[in-house]
Symmetry: D2
Subunit: 154 residues, 4 copies
């Protein structure tokens, strides 16, 4: 879902062109403390990128991996876990593009509660690679153009 | 396993007092590209912390969570994925303590290949919390003392 | 989603009162062979039961576990994996109740492809337990009544 | 680990030639009820099969999948969950071969507590497939011979 309305959420991020998706906190995500186990948040991040590619960039992971022989490798990750999330909560996931390089894209991802407060906020750097060699390859121009639609000044 | 020999691995980290553990790259860790799916590395990080607590600090997660009513929450994460890891590889995981605060500890974790080259390197900040309230609580003195054994100058 | 139309899918199951939910085969579900790793199907089963409880039975797992102190333990599982599922596929998950006991319920679950052919078909027996003691407790009458709406003759 | 001593564990299974492996119940395995989430047991089953192939049959999953282009697909699963397992427990996993077909092998797997009582007991039917086509292929004779070492009368 692309959000084209101008809005400010939190203090630091203008999400004019954010990709948004709801995330339900499931039993499978939660640990013995009753809150989301942090590696499951990383699966939520990956699922959000997967949905963004398919719905926002019009190239599914299946097409990318199986037809074109490309992959999107996560090469860097920075995450702040601001507050715990509990079983049954509905979070809102938001993705914006921070910068686009020759082969890479830097994303900012936030998971927020129903009041718009951060639960988790992170940055991911993804690099487009050849699936076989795992070597970086340039982002194709059409994909770069579609990514730029989700770009936002910080 | 505590390693008390003085050694330099890679270029930037002196691991005089590192906690070490082997990690087998399993089928369950790998994605359709045949390499470790990055959230599974985060499970490896958590498993390493779990083993460090049990074997290095003499307090198991079970004792911490179930008997004492504490938890160790991950509040910050920074990870660089230097090179992919493949099915069947045996990695070496290393944990050192970078700094110890009132309630928190900053860890540096590396996963390396058989030649000692980084596959994944990251920092985690953990905060000791009360399991019920999820609020930070001071690290007990004995635990702090045992953590300091694994502390290393960067 | 409750399906009240009379229909026959496959050869053996009349799903007059089935609970249905779509399932996207995600990157996180797939193994190095490019197909769904079978433990991930078991997470899909659990997610389906979770959605059925919340939407079909009007009692969320959060309410069940956190407010009422109950749990639904899986005590038996039988699954046939008829054909592999691939990255990006949209499956249809179906749940019907086979029988209801004092504390237990037997479910039949199927995951099917877009043409209605089985990918995975299984039976799960769940037992309602006290969360603390893990001992079986009778299904409350209102829950039993709502479960019976999804009951189907085999 | 192959156990060649004659022994009876539980009431129904003679495990003369069982493959055994210890399993630690980790934080990552446990759910908000503080016990192992059942799909994680299925990962333990898969890990056990993986270890059996590598250590017991002298063919690693990496060799099987990447070098020979084969896979071992789970086509049937039956599991009884006799009692819950808790964070920090050390279980003992046991695998015996029940029968060997042209392309398939039926395994019996048990996870037991420190007193030898069943926590989980299941049967898995695996079929050797061509990785590309996902079609069944005959088990090679040497692999069949090595499998038969772990065969046990029920």
């Amino acid at each position: 879902m692309r959000d084209t309305t101008s809005s400010v959420r939190g203090e630091t991020i203008v999400e004019t062109h954010a990709f948004r998706s709801p995330v339900l906190v499931r039993f499978a995500h939660c640990d013995p403390a009753g809150i989301v186990f942090f590696p499951r948040y990383m699966e939520m991040f990956n699922n959000l990128v997967e949905d963004w590619c398919r719905e926002g960039l019009q190239i599914s992971f299946a097409e990318m991996h199986l037809e074109r022989g490309w992959g999107m490798s996560t090469v860097h990750l920075e995450v702040d876990f601001a507050a715990p999330s509990f079983l049954g909560e509905e979070l809102s996931a938001t993705l914006v593009v921070r910068s686009i390089g020759t082969s890479s894209v830097r994303l900012e991802i936030a998971l927020r509660d129903a009041e718009g407060r951060d639960r988790v906020r992170g940055q991911m750097v993804l690099v487009m690679v050849e699936a076989q060699s795992k070597r970086a390859r340039p982002l194709p121009d059409d994909l770069r153009a579609r990514m730029s639609v989700f770009q936002s000044e910080s």
